[in-house]
Amino acid sequence: MSTAATTLTTSTAFEKTRAEGRAALIGYLPAGFPDVPGGIDALRCLVDSGCDIIEVGLPYSDPVMDGPTIQLAAQRALEGGVRTADVLRTVEAVAATGTPTVVMTYWNPVEHYGGRGGHAQSVTRFAADLAGAGGAGLITPDLTPDSAPEWIAAADEHGLDKIFLVAPSSTESRVAMTTAACRGFVYATAVMGVTGARTTTSDLAGPLVARTKATTDLPVCVGLGVSNGDQAAEVASYADGVIVGSAFVRALLDNDDRAAGLRALAALTEDLAVGCRRG
């Protein structure tokens, strides 16, 4: 491990939340939205208001797993000229707060990091630079472990968390294969669908978490759809972490004034954090 000695992995956050007998709150925002400094301010606001782990989204031109809210933010970030280097700069600024910070990214920007060249080489370079920025690991929504030999090797070399997804449609053998490849935590997608706040939580999430926990001791966190404290409390009753993304993005999109956006973000985070303690 090169720089991993200084890297905060997500397990440090789960040790704390488990000791406190509560679920972790995991907050997502894309880097570069509304611009790079504004994105860093928003992510730091999530840290200050009660998020235990931060997910920095890498804006991508073809986000097939995202609903309209996150698509719009990512598109604005790209129109604003955000680059992969800016995402790593954002990770560095957020990880400096002492809160474990992972990147959530579609696969091609990692495979193409540093421009043309072999994809294995690009993946290794990305892992080194992510670790160098203090990043804890990667969440890979369109990369499953059976397609990820390069990433698994690079993550292992740099001590990075490998967070793969399980879904309600995953077979038992795929759940087992996926959790065996994870380090840090397992991301359980609560619904069959794309990201976006929903008014009701999914009845698919509980059984999926139970099936997942039967295969691993890793924390299992639930994402897709949570937008308020009550929903967070419900998810926290059976999961180790509650992942929130679109609702945070919505809070920023709904407020043109940046200070007002940050206030809305803080209020929402506090509500969700209370929910995580109730669950």
């Binding site: 073809d62 790209l78 696969w107 495979e111 499953t144 669908g193």
Partner: protein
Amino acid sequence: MTTTSTPGQQAPVIPPSSFDADEGGWFGDFGGRFMPEALVAALDELTEAWQDAMADPTFIHDFETICRDYGGMPSSLYEARRLSDKVGARILLKREDLNHTGAHKIRNVLGQALLTRRMGKQRVIAETGAGQHGVASATAAAYFGLDCTVYMGAVDVKRQALNVARMHLLGAKVVPVDSGSATLKDAINEAMRDWVASVDHTAYLFGTAAGPHPFPSMVRDFARGIGDEARAQCLERYGRLPDAIAACVGGGSNAIGLFQAFLDDEDVAIYGFEPGGDGIETGRHAATIHQGDSGVLHGARTYVLQDEDGQTIESHSISAGLDYPGVGPQHAHLAKVGRATYLPITDAEAMDAMALLSRTEGIIPAIESAHAIAGALRVAEQLGAEKGPDATVLINLSGRGDKDMETAMEWFDL
């Protein structure tokens, strides 16, 4: 649908080539499956159903019967005599423009829709650029009585009002997509988003031989009748194989449908002609293979038009059907190992070929197919000079040009 298989009928064998994918959908360095876990179960189910169907004589028989009675296949192989005289070599045109709905695409959608029915699903979704695959999908859905939703970039919905009307008339729902560049690639993204949420009862009729495994191999299997027929027709009529075959390549389904039967015929040269747009040097093109930068797009590793950070770059071509920033992974493999040669053809070269074929043979080709004509005539001139007038070039005339008349009116000032 009244077709049944004859008892005791011998199982048709789909001959493998030396350039097929492995079990994981890898064509050498290309292909695979880079997809959300939520869709893996559905892709596995589809893979199994497709492989099972391909080994089932009843399915193959039903498919061939529908293609014949409803689709008008096999399409003819036509010797274009005046064009042959002009270039000094024999030009053969595989007349996919004469199929029902006017292009090769009907083969793929009839195959996928038949498979959908076999899997017991009631709804199909599709993406479309100019609307050709959307119209074909709506047609197949009407034929099989399936519910059909077509995703189409909002920009394309405006540009292709006629095809939107055709889809509506055929009973399909057309959903305009505003995200991203509001064109084909974004329509694919939106169709995938629908599929993640509807996969238990919905099949995704993918429009080209690209995307995650099994689509590149499955779409090829449904399109390969083009080459199987053409090879047999050529042998029967001339007692020999062509010296070269040619097709246009966007996503690459008509091309792989032609190429597959010839891949192991070492003496047959294979050419794919990519959309060169305004010219490679301008950056405004869709010549993905020629550009040669590999990446992952829409579920497969292949050649992709992308910037330094791996963000997809918008492609440009006068031909909407070729205007795609990726390409099927089997083509990427054939290019890399040198079995096929891929060359760019500019908008202007394609439009010249469109006019030439119209005036020389009385056939108005789709602008897509005109790319193949333009490139193949160059190959034919060379071959004719080397081998004499018996040199034979077989070109896939993948579709007819009626849909392109507005573009032609503007280009030629008609």
